[in-house]
């Protein structure tokens, strides 16, 4: 980025001699759109550009934009990469692309309906039967299902590339559950927000109307038109590669994000399990591959589906976008036949060319492929067992070529040879330099009764390596925003006019049982992490101080270290009889494991990881600010190893505590759904009560030497942020009864047990009633009992000391009773609200002889 003029940037950096470059047209001069773009980029200057690039990176990261890479342990939640140089499409190119893609979508929709319907294409010899019947995406279970709409193929995406002679080619069709539109939108938002100057002088088409069209199209597909159409987005779960997008789109479109076990089939309808009971589902936007969608009729081992789903579909009670069975169209073998299909159905020629392909199911074509194998790309018509479906013939050794030829000859109908297109190079910003890379862009279309509409933009991905021609996110490529440079069409508002139902955010709906459960546990783990961090921090601070020899101090420290073991349930810990002395003399050796050993159940890091898992499972619940905190905590925690010093550990704990407090605080004011907050805060209050009781039992039940007790009370109050409160309120030294009163009964103290129980009582009373009437539900009874026990306890309960054992016995049994009652609540609400049914099981099939 040292050069000043656009021309010199390109000349200095595009050193290799390509016959065509995207930004230059066929001449050496830049195309006008690129000229404008580069002049804006040049004006920004290198430092500013770098700064903005980092901002983009941070924004995407903070928005939680990730792409998960399978089979890579560190690949989960890999941040999304966006190059700030977009992919430009001129108005002329776009016009052709748009009409070509709409035609292609129409065509594929007709093919889909025909394959699962009359099969005229096969009967009339337009499509070879083997191409369909041997494709694993052809689901015979879906044959003959009545089509509810003209365009069953609601969503369609195509990968397009430009060859060095400037032509645009369709490389792949995506019809199963096309992904990427959410990333495209997020890319655009990031670019528009952080690099607004780059849009100067260029009329870039907006993306938002496309999503309105998508929302409307999905409403239109509902089998029954009614007021409260319920649409869900079905995701395989948070470890899926594009989970970010599932969650992003569902909240952008206003649909509920669900997993298979959130749904069930009953009375030939699909139902959503919510905390208020079952709700009927009308439309499923599917991001689970079709064969996994119904373990009754499709893949029996699937845990991602809904048993009986196909029966609901057959009964016409639910629409799925895209319909089950649409994977058949992701079939490179169809390419060479699409011309004839276009003539057959539409009496038209294809507007956009397919890449030249030879399907080996025909003798002549197979011979051609075998003869030219090293100059072709060989694809399987559907993914094979190795999941690889593209092989560059040129990359194979002669032995590998022979083996591939054998495979083709034995099952020729499974293979397609494709011409290798020289993909044109586009500029990319790499480490501050403009370099060139090959680009593919994915275009998205949505079909409704009015036809197919293309997103005026798309998702571009680039590969930096020379001549790489297989580009995929799984291989970790870089993405680009895609700019269609054209004026907005005038009829843009007509999309809005056709809205089936306006989206209203005020719709009162119950959250799903799974969301409720996740949020409940996020609350519990958040509180647990916080409680552990605070308690251990305090003990650590005092026990690691230098110059500590006083017997009482050491004795108190012992009790506190033991209390930590109880508090965190990291047994045997400091209660280990064999090792006790060693551990007490070098507590850090044990404490660092209690803090940062992820493999140790009960450790801080262990609980933190569970917290994160819950957070990621409910990704769309957290605001951007919240994500920033989560990210900070993750960064802090992932930087820690077991060789950490205690000094460094204290600063990690400080920052973790600050962030966690902020996380909780932010959610109190920003979590969008009231019920969600109730669930999360119920979890918190419950956890805090249990932790508090545990700590009280280990600091206040036994009576020791006065100065030992003093140290214990101080640790208790400090760990609960109540020491200042105590001093302010009582203005006197720490006393057993006063400390107890503050921590148990003072409802002005937000850390007291009574405060937690009162909140719990309110929250639990707010949960939807399972039985009508005035009688209390099980969880309401339990909390009422716990609350009453505490309220009814007299002063004597707190002060009665058993002289023999030196224990406040009544206190201990009161605490144990309340602990027992509170522990029951989790089980009761989980049975009532979280799990509507146990897991699914396959019945054995009949053995025959």
């Amino acid at each position: 980025m040292t050069a000043n003029t656009p021309g010199s940037i390109i000349k200095n950096n595009f050193t290799t001699d390509y016959s065509y470059r995207e930004s230059m047209g066929t001449d050496v001069d830049l195309l006008p759109d690129w000229e404008t773009f580069f002049s804006s980029l040049t004006q920004l200057g290198p430092e500013e550009t770098e700064d903005r690039r980092q901002n983009i990176y941070r924004m995407l990261r903070e928005n939680g934009v990730t792409y998960n890479i399978y089979g890579d342990p560190s690949g989960l939640n890999r941040p999304w990469n966006l190059d700030i140089i977009p992919y430009l499409l001129s108005q002329r190119d776009w016009k052709k692309t748009e009409s070509g893609l709409a035609q292609r979508a129409e065509l594929l929709n007709l093919v889909l309906q025909d394959i699962y319907g009359e099969q005229k294409l096969i009967k009339n010899g337009v499509l070879p039967a083997e191409l369909i019947y041997n494709h694993s995406g052809f689901l015979r279970q879906c044959a003959g299902i009545r089509q509810l709409h003209t365009r069953s193929l609601v969503l369609y995406a195509a990968d397009i590339a430009r060859s060095t002679d400037g032509k645009l080619w369709v490389l792949n069709d995506r019809t199963q559950a096309p992904s990427g539109s959410g990333y495209a939108l997020e890319n655009r938002l990031a670019m528009a927000r952080i690099l607004p100057e780059l849009f100067n002088g260029l009329q870039v088409r907006h993306l938002s109307s496309f999503f309105d069209t998508m929302r409307n199209a999905l409403y239109e597909t509902a089998p029954f038109q009614k007021q409260d159409t319920r649409i869900v987005v079905l995701t395989p779960g948070s470890s899926n590669e594009t989970y970010f997008e599932h969650s992003y789109l569902s909240s952008y479109l206003g649909f509920t994000l669900v997993q298979g076990n959130d749904l069930m089939v009953k009375d030939n309808h699909v139902w959503l399990k919510t905390i208020g009971g079952l709700e009927k589902v009308d439309v499923i936007l599917r991001r689970v591959d079709d064969v996994f969608c119904d373990p009754l009729e499709l893949r029996e081992d699937s845990q991602l589906g809904i048993p009986g789903l196909l029966q609901a579909v057959r009964s016409g009670n639910v629409s799925i976008a895209n319909p089950l069975g649409s994977g058949i169209l992701e079939n490179p073998g169809l390419m060479p036949f699409l011309h004839s299909v276009a003539r057959y159905f539409l009496n038209e020629d294809l507007i956009l060319s397919n890449i030249a392909s030879w399907w080996c199911g025909q003798k002549k074509e197979m011979d051609y492929v075998l003869d030219n194998i090293s100059s072709l790309v060989i694809k399987r018509i559907c993914k094979g067992s190795d999941n690889r479906n593209s092989i560059d013939g040129a990359s194979l050794s002669s032995a590998e070529i022979d083996s591939l030829k054998q495979k083709i000859k034995s099952q020729p109908y499974l293979y397609v040879g494709q011409e290798k297109v020289n993909i044109t190079h586009t500029p990319a910003l790499v480490n501050g330099n403009i370099e060139s890379g090959t680009s593919l862009f994915r275009s998205f279309l949505v079909g409704s009764d009015h036809g197919y509409t293309a997103m005026p933009g798309g998702l571009t991905r680039t590969a930096q390596r020379e001549n790489t021609f297989i580009v995929s996110n799984q291989m970790g490529s870089v993405s680009k925003d895609t700019w269609v440079i054209a004026p907005e069409p005038e009829n843009i508002d007509s999309f809005k006019a056709t809205k089936v139902e306006p989206f209203t955010e005020t719709e009162k709906r119950y959250i799903t049982s799974r969301t409720a459960e996740n949020l409940f546990w996020v609350g519990r783990y958040a509180e647990r992490v916080l409680g552990n961090a605070r308690f251990i921090r305090n003990v650590l601070q005092s026990s690691m101080e230098g110059n500590r020899h006083h017997q009482n101090e050491l004795e108190a420290e012992r009790y506190l270290l033991e209390a930590i073991t109880h508090y965190t349930s990291t047994y045997p810990g400091f209660l280990d009889e064999e090792d006790a002395e060693k551990k007490f003399s070098h507590p850090w050796d044990e404490l660092k494991h209690v803090l940062f050993d992820a493999s140790r159940a009960g450790s801080l890091l262990f609980n933190f990881n569970l917290f994160c898992r819950g957070v990621y499972s409910e990704r769309d619940h957290w605001s951007t600010d919240t994500w920033r905190l989560i990210w900070n905590m993750e960064k802090e925690m992932s930087g820690v190893s077991l060789t950490i010093s205690h000094i460094r550990a204290l600063s990690v704990l400080d920052s973790l505590i600050t962030s966690m407090v902020a996380f909780i605080g932010l959610n109190g004011e920003s979590i969008s759904r009231e019920q969600g907050w109730v669930m999360m805060d119920t979890g918190r209050k419950l956890e805090r009560s249990l932790l508090l009781i545990n700590m009280l039992q280990n600091t206040m039940v036994g009576k020791h030497d006065a100065s030992v007790d003093y140290n214990l009370y101080e640790a208790l109050l400090k760990s609960n942020e109540a020491l200042v409160n105590y001093r302010y309120k009582f203005k006197r030294p720490l006393e057993h009864y006063l400390a107890l009163e503050l921590m148990l009964l003072d409802n002005n103290n937000p850390r007291s047990l009574i405060y937690q129980l009162e909140r719990l009582k309110t929250y639990l009373g707010k949960l939807p009633k399972i039985q009508q009437g005035y009688t209390l539900q099980e969880h309401e009874k339990i909390i009422l009992e716990a609350h009453s026990r505490l309220m009814l306890a007299g002063r004597e309960t707190f002060t009665r000391l058993n002289k023999k054992t030196n224990q406040y016995v009544k206190l201990n049994s009161l605490l144990s009773d309340i602990y027992g009652l509170l522990s029951e609540i989790t089980g009761v609400i989980s049975k009532t609200y979280f799990k509507h049914a146990p897991g699914q099981k396959q019945l054995f099939t009949i053995e025959s002889f």
Binding site: I122, K123, G125, P128, A129, E130, Y133, N134, R140, Q141, A143, G144, M264, V265, K266, D267, N268, P295, L296, E297, E300, P307, G308, Q311, R314, S315, Q411, Y413, A837, P838, G839, Q840, K841, Q842, L843, F844, T845, I846, E847, S848, F849
Partner: protein, 289 residues
């Protein structure tokens, strides 16, 4: 010949299930030589939902769901089937198997449909070993029907019938190595062999009437469901072979339905929402009436 077939399946769950979905292919279809006169399905507890339809292959399917808590599921299907097939006096076209392979390659609507029965499925994967085994029956110039008969005979003679050795998931390769299995395994093996030669073969699910040893009375419920294979013979259509019993099915075989392999015609399968395990018992009775 007219038969009454009673097929009873009982599932007992360890823990009560709140919901079960089941898919049954237990109603015999009509065939050129078979009429299913009546069929009666008794399910207990009574299902809340029943859907009936024909599948892709024209087999009769019924789905049912029980939406209330239950610990036991009992499905009894009673069908009366008239079988008009005769074992004698049928002559098959004298077509060589190589000729049949060639004819299958001609593009026409019948062949288009047959293609799906030529390709491998998960349950009938062919490898060099199966192909080699098959070629001992499919010798150059041999008649197609004769070759298939030979294959059925070879399987019957060289493989031992051994219940309990295999499960429905046991691959053909293992059956080939161990030389034992049950009727589904033999049907799958034969299908893999026939397909490896480039011919169309399908899996048939059904029943076989068993006769008691002379002088003894037949025990009720002693029969079982059965499976065999069928090969497309140009000029004659689908011709059945039973490798388990080394014979060509005729009046004693009752067809329920067919598909590419067992997975297409599983007699009864289901998904329950329940925590525990379950026990299965099946009784089949085939009576002449």
């Amino acid at each position: 010949m007219q038969y009454k077939v009673t097929h009873t399946t009982v599932y007992e769950y360890e823990e009560a299930a709140s919901l079960c979905h089941n898919l049954a292919m237990l109603k015999p279809r009509h065939t050129p030589t078979q009429i299913c006169k009546t069929v009666n399905v008794l399910i207990s507890p009574e299902p809340d939902v029943v859907n009936e339809y024909e599948d892709f292959f024209g087999n009769r399917v019924f789905y049912f769901a029980i939406q209330q808590e239950h610990k036991q599921l009992n499905v009894t299907v009673t069908s009366v089937v008239e079988n008009t097939a005769t074992s004698s006096g049928i002559s098959y076209p004298d077509i060589g198997w190589e000729e049949a392979v060639q004819q299958l390659k001609e593009p026409n609507p019948v062949n288009a449909d047959l293609k799906q029965f030529v390709s491998d499925t998960h349950m009938t994967v062919t490898d060099s070993q199966t192909k080699q085994f098959a070629s001992q029956s499919f010798k150059p110039g041999k008649g197609l029907v004769a070759a298939c008969k030979d294959l059925a005979e070879k399987i019957c003679k060289e493989f031992s019938y051994s219940p309990g050795f295999s499960t429905i998931a046991t691959p053909v390769k293992i059956i080939m190595q161990k030389k034992k299995g049950v009727c589904q395994d033999f049907a799958h093996l034969a299908i893999a062999c026939v397909r490896s030669m480039g011919l169309a073969a399908r899996y048939v699910s059904g029943y076989l009437e068993t006769l008691p040893p002379e002088g003894e009375t037949k025990l009720v419920g002693a029969d079982a469901s059965h499976a065999w294979f069928s090969v497309f013979v140009p000029g004659a259509g689908w011709v059945d072979f039973d490798p388990t019993n080394n014979l060509m099915p005729s009046s004693q075989h009752i067809t329920i339905g067919w598909g590419r392999d067992y997975a297409d015609v599983t007699p009864l399968k289901g998904v329950i929402l329940s925590g525990g395990n379950h026990k299965l018992s099946v009784a089949v009775d085939v009576q002449r009436v």
